[in-house]
Symmetry: none
Subunit: 259 residues, 2 copies
Amino acid sequence: MDTTNAIDLADRIRIVLVGTQHPGNIGSAARAIKTMGLHRLVLVAPQKFPHNEADMMAAGAEDVLNAAVEVATLAEAVADCRLVLGCTARSRRVQLRELRPREAAASVRVEAGAGGEVALVFGRERTGLDNDELQLCHAAVHIPANPEYSSLNLAAAVQVLSYEVRLALLGEGDAPPAVIASANPEAVPHAELEGFFAQLADTLDAIDFHKGRAPDSAMRKLRRLFVRTGLDHKEVRLLRGILADAQRMARLAGTRDAG
Amino acid sequence: MDTTNAIDLADRIRIVLVGTQHPGNIGSAARAIKTMGLHRLVLVAPQKFPHNEADMMAAGAEDVLNAAVEVATLAEAVADCRLVLGCTARSRRVQLRELRPREAAASVRVEAGAGGEVALVFGRERTGLDNDELQLCHAAVHIPANPEYSSLNLAAAVQVLSYEVRLALLGEGDAPPAVIASANPEAVPHAELEGFFAQLADTLDAIDFHKGRAPDSAMRKLRRLFVRTGLDHKEVRLLRGILADAQRMARLAGTRDAG
C-alpha cells in the first residue's frame, strides 16, 4: 500500500458539485471525500454556500469546505482538466461512453499518475447534469443501482466514487479478493453453538482449567476459534460427547477427592 | 448480469443496525440498501424508532423501514445466520479476521449462494459494536478509510458495503471462484498440529471416549475439523492446556477406581 503516492495523486483530483440545492449535501460530500483521502472540492453555482448546514454535516471536514473553490460554470471548474467524468443516473440524452465506478477510478488513477488534472463531476440533486454540462465530460460514470430505485443521495454517490478512487490509488482496485465464508457449507446456525459453548464453559470449570484466572479470556478465544470453524451438526455432537466424558472424569475425580 | 439470481440472494442478506442513536440514520440506511437492491433491515434496540426523521430520510424507501424487524439483542438478530460480518473501525480489542468490503461482499455471495443466511452488522454511531457483539461475528469488515479521518457516516458505511454486495451479487465483484481454505492467516504449519493430535488421541483414550468403538473414525473427524480451522500457536497451546487438565482429571478418577 503506497500511501505517499496515493496522497500525491489525490492532489490532482477534484470533486465538482454542480448546482447543489441543499447545503447539507455539500457538507456531507466534504466528509465523504475526506474519509477517502481526497480534499479538493469545487462548487459550481451552489444555491446556498457557505451555510451552517454545510458546516454541521461536514463533521470534521470543515478544512475541505473552507478550501472549496466556488465558480460560476462547469466549464470554469474543469478548464485545466485532462479527464472529466460525469456521474449520472443512466442517461440516453447524450451519447457518452459509460463507465462503472471501478473503471472510472482506474481511469482517474492512470490519468493522475500521468500528471493530469482530473475531475469527478456530480450534478444537481433532482435534475443531474444538463446536456451542455455532459458535453464537457469525457465519459459518464454510472453506479449500477437497483433499476427500480436508483436515487442515491448526492453524498452517497460521492462516497461510492471516492471509495473506488481510494482503492485505485492504494493499488487495491483490481486485487482479487480473498473470500471467507463459513469454511463448512453444513455449518449450524449461530444459536446452535450456544449450547456447545455453555457445556464447554462448564467443562473448563469442572476440570479446573482456569485455576483462579478469569474464565472470560479463554472462552472468548475458544468461541472465536469454533465460530470461525463453522461446525456442522455431527461435529457439535462429537465435541459435546468428548466434553461429556471429560465432565464424567471430573465427577469421578471429585468423588475421589470427597471420599 | 443475472438480476433474478441477485434478487434471490438478496432475500438471504440482512443489514443489522445496532443501537442506532439518530433515527435519520436509520432512514438513510434504508435508502442506501434499497438503492443497492437489498431490502432486509433488522434494528437492534434503536434509540428512537419509528420516527418521522427516519421516514423523511428514507425518501422512497419507506417499504424497507416498514418491513424492518426490531429485536432486543444482536444475538437474536443473527441467531439463524451462518455468516455474520461486523463493520468496524479498525479495532485491536478483539482479534477477528479483518476483511476489506470487497472480500466481505464476495464472502456474502458465496454463503448466500450456498443457501445460508447472512448478516452485515453496523454498530452505534459513536461507539460501534461492543466486545460481546463482536464475539458474535465471524469476521470484521474494515473500509480502508483515510487514517487521519476515518469517520464515515453510518449510512455512508452502509452504502459502501451494500454497493460492494450488489456488485458481488451481479457477478461484477471479481470474486474468485473458490473459497480460501484457511480461515486464519496465522495458522501453524500442518506438522505442528501433530503433537496436538497425538495428545488429543491420548486424552480420548484417557477419558474413555471410545467405549469400545474404533478410535480412528472420531480422530479423523477431529483432524478434519481442526485442520480446517487453521489453529495458530496460541490456540494450539490453549487447547493442549485443556487436554492436559482433562488428562489430569482422568488420572485422578483412575486413582479412585484403582483405590
